[in-house]
Amino acid sequence: MKKTATKAAFSIVLVITLLMSFSLPAFAYSLKPYRHKSSKIYYYYDNWVGSRAISFFSTGASAWSARTTEAQILHYSNNPGTGYNVYMCTGNITGVEWDGLTQTRYNSKSPYYVVSQTLTLNMAKTSTWNNDGALKSVVVHEMGHVFGLGDNGKTKTIMNGYTFGTNSRYGGYGLTVPQTDDVNGVNAKY
């Protein structure tokens, strides 16, 4: 009698555990402490930024907007002032190994709202800059950092931190748009 009861209890616990593991979402995304106050995040670029970069900023923002329901990155076309959240630029930056970089200043107290951000594309990394797919992959990746996502290991997600090479975001997996896990990360933030 006692043995049967133990077996039954064990089975119930096992079934509940299995059900929970199937029903819970798989959290692979990584979140930064910061986020923007508004779910509408405006980016701005100066008129010296070339047409190639401008085109890819727009393509990157659209790639997120097409998949993200909770937050958007939008072009701020008015006179700058203080109305934008992210400054986008390009530079021919030699002596570094990155093709995209996002610098974020945020409040030191919760909820850690972003004060300012700068997203820089590196034109000196020609393997990326001259490759449409790779460049889009980098812009979309850096915009993930703009939202507040962190790098995401060797996963098949846009937040994978490497552009080329084995297990990389673009060279390895061919990704140029946010994946479900990336979108879930943004939606968890906003």
Binding site: K32, W98, L119, T120, V138, D151, N152, G165, N167, S168
Partner: protein, 199 residues
């Protein structure tokens, strides 16, 4: 007259003491109190192995950091650089001895008490020692391959990739194909020598 002399000597001593205190305070700067401004990078290339690093470097050497200066030539693009002076202790490939200058993204702003650094590629400090795989730049400086990937620590004759030995890198660099923990220095060096011999 004697009293005046005593006063001058006393004042001089106080000045010297203040100067010494200021110097010792500077050398013991507590960077943990500085505000960190995070930089998040998309690294261009994920190296597969130590052999691939060895195949693609211009320098494979164990170095000690002996100097540092900021370089603000790209500041208008939101990018600060630090140029480190490093002394070559042991070289397995490339420049054999002397000093090199290593470029890194990020900087310590002493005035504003802020540290700008790539979250998975922490800045180096004076006295730090690393084994680095680096490529040479046109201006004579060197850049470590793929940031944290090309930098290794040797502790008690055992080699560790930075994403193992450095807590911050371990937290933020989960993407690297290279993870080395407790490989003997002799094995590590033999592996590199074998690789570079084929070049």
């Amino acid at each position: 007259m004697k009293n005046t002399l005593k006063a001058i000597v006393g004042f001089g001593l106080i000045v010297v003491m203040f100067a010494l205190a200021a110097c010792s305070n500077q050398s013991a700067t507590d960077y943990s109190q500085y505000e960190k401004i995070p930089l998040n990078a998309s690294w261009s290339y994920n190296y597969e192995s130590v052999n691939e690093l060895a195949d693609n470097c211009d320098l494979a050497a164990y170095v000690t950091i002996t100097g540092m200066e900021t370089d603000d030539k790209y500041k208008s693009y939101g990018v600060d650089l630090t140029i480190y002076t490093a002394e070559i202790r042991e070289s397995l490939f490339g420049k054999k001895d002397g000093t090199i200058r290593i470029v890194m993204t990020g900087m310590v702003d002493e005035k504003e008490r802020k540290i700008y650094e790539i979250v998975d590629d922490p800045l180096m400090k004076l006295g730090d020692e690393f084994f680095v795989f680096a490529k040479s730049n046109e201006d004579g400086t060197y850049t470590i391959l793929s940031g944290p990937q090309g930098r290794f620590e040797i502790i008690d004759n055992m080699v560790y990739s930075l994403n193992v030995s450095n807590e911050q890198v371990a937290k933020y660099n989960l993407d690297s194909n290279i993870t080395i923990s407790k490989q003997s220095k002799d094995d590590f060096y033999a592996q590199i020598k074998e690789s570079v011999a084929k070049r």
